[in-house]
């Protein structure tokens, strides 16, 4: 035992600790993704893409037969939903026209909502069991930067870019413990913070914290991004209130959110590289 540690153990551990600290410092002092990380991921990215494509193709072939009946049934349901939505759309168009007229009368700026996005394929899902991340196949060469929002084609929030290299980027999803974003309950306009929680991550849920004392969230309430501060676009759907809980101290309440997007089903996402929103 003594020989084991005096002979080489301490030396190897000291070398490891030195290299680990050097890597940490390299990352800490890099304003964006550091050179070595970028190099390793740029080289490995095409291999990951090929592996994922093959795996997806196999999964598609396997699911094709079993999904057919379910898709037929879903198609019928969607046709009914479209009829309802068309009626709602006609009313919304009238409301929008009225809104535009009133804004002109009050001399307010015209509402605008421009999102510039880049389409991306998911190369790898949940690289680790301890985090909820997605590896995307586009990076800085497409204008992707740390802090960009990632959404689905329906405008549902998937996560935020937390690492970006030449031809790859990492999206930290709404379930991850590192995720935190300003949120708003659509029905009541209450502002809160949507954040990942370790215990909820495995259940596929997240937490809506810092609710004000007089907030009255209800199960089923839609929660969207607040857009306060201008870092992220507003009105991106985060999820729906699933349960309302009280903190351990019994003083504050928080809500458990079910994300609007089914992360395990995602193949393609959109990175919002720039946005202009006038409320």
């Amino acid at each position: 035992m003594k020989r084991f540690f005096t002979k080489y153990g301490i030396i190897v551990l000291a070398v490891s600790a030195t290299v680990a600290v050097a890597l940490s410092l390299l990352t800490f002092f890099s304003s964006n993704t550091d050179v070595l990380t970028n190099l390793v991921n740029t080289i490995s990215s095409p291999f990951r893409t090929v592996g994922t494509e093959i795996a997806n193709w196999v999964a598609d072939q396997r699911r094709f037969a079993s999904d057919y009946d379910a898709l037929k049934e879903e198609n019928e349901t969607l046709k009914n939903e479209i009829a309802d939505l068309e009626a709602a759309l006609r009313q919304a168009e009238k409301d929008s026209e009225e809104n535009r007229t009133l804004r002109r009368l009050l001399d307010l700026r015209e509402q605008r909502r421009d999102l510039d996005w880049e389409s991306a394929l998911i190369v790898e899902q949940d690289v680790s069991n301890w985090a909820s991340t997605l590896r995307l196949n586009i990076g800085t060469d497409y204008g992707v930067a740390i802090g960009d929002s990632v959404i689905t084609e329906a405008g549902y929030l998937v996560g935020i870019i937390t690492d970006a290299g030449t031809n790859w980027s990492t999206c930290t999803t709404v379930l991850d413990t590192e995720f935190s974003i300003g949120a708003r309950i659509f029905r009541t306009d209450e502002v809160a913070v949507a954040e990942g929680d370790f215990s909820l991550m495995s259940q596929g849920s997240l937490k809506l914290s810092y609710l004000s004392a007089d907030a009255v969230p209800m199960v089923g309430d839609l929660v969207v991004t607040s857009g306060l501060g201008g870092y992220y676009p507003s009105e991106l759907t985060i999820g729906y209130v699933q349960e309302i809980m009280t903190d351990d101290d019994g003083l504050a309440q928080y809500a458990i959110l079910r994300p609007a997007v089914e992360l395990s089903e995602l193949r393609q996402v959109f990175v919002v590289v720039d946005f202009t929103i006038v409320e």
């Binding site: 035992m1 490891s16 490995s44 592996g51 949940d126 690289v127 990492t170």
Partner: protein, 169 residues
């Protein structure tokens, strides 16, 4: 042993590890049980250390740790760089002093590698203010149990590399 044989041996281990990582990305990553996917990296470190001496296996673990830190979802940069050599030293100590090399030794070595890596992650989560330490240990246990059957792939592969590259001088 001549230096070129030592280099060849560790290149062979590197090649075997690359094959395992490809399998992890293309196949094992899609096997989800109890909400977790298998995680091969600690097993690679543990099994290699159970076959080889402390210094070379911990240096192999150091290089592997650096690559995992740079290419994977590391909780904090330098995490695997520090913990993998520590895990390799522990596994190597067990193999040299408590067990004779073989499947049980690789199993116990791998267990300690998973334990060290999971312990490191949990400490980082607790420092970060996360609660639910039992949920974390439960996740660690599930990760180990789901990864465990893959020892049936890793052990024979590394034993083959060990036998093909080890000569008596």
């Amino acid at each position: 042993m001549p230096k070129r044989y030592i280099v060849l041996k560790w290149l062979a281990y590197g090649g075997a590890t690359a094959v395992l990582l490809l399998l992890q990305t293309g196949v094992f990553h899609y096997i989800r049980l109890w909400g977790v996917v298998p995680f091969l990296a600690p097993m690679v470190v543990g099994v290699a250390a159970s076959f080889e001496d402390g210094i070379p296996s911990s240096l192999f673990a150091l290089v592997f740790g650096i690559l995992c830190d740079l290419g994977g979802a590391t909780p904090v940069m330098g995490f695997f760089t520090f913990l993998f050599p520590l895990a390799a030293l522990t596994a190597s100590f067990l193999a040299e002093n408590l067990f004779s090399p073989g499947f049980p030794c690789s199993l116990v070595s791998s267990f300690f590698c998973y334990l060290i890596v999971a312990g490191g992650r949990i400490i980082l989560f607790l420092i970060d203010g996360e609660t639910g330490v039992w949920d974390m240990w439960y996740l660690a246990l599930r990760e180990f149990l789901v990864s465990l059957p893959l020892l049936a792939v890793v052990f024979p592969l590394f034993r083959w590399v060990h036998r093909r590259t080890t000569f008596d001088y």
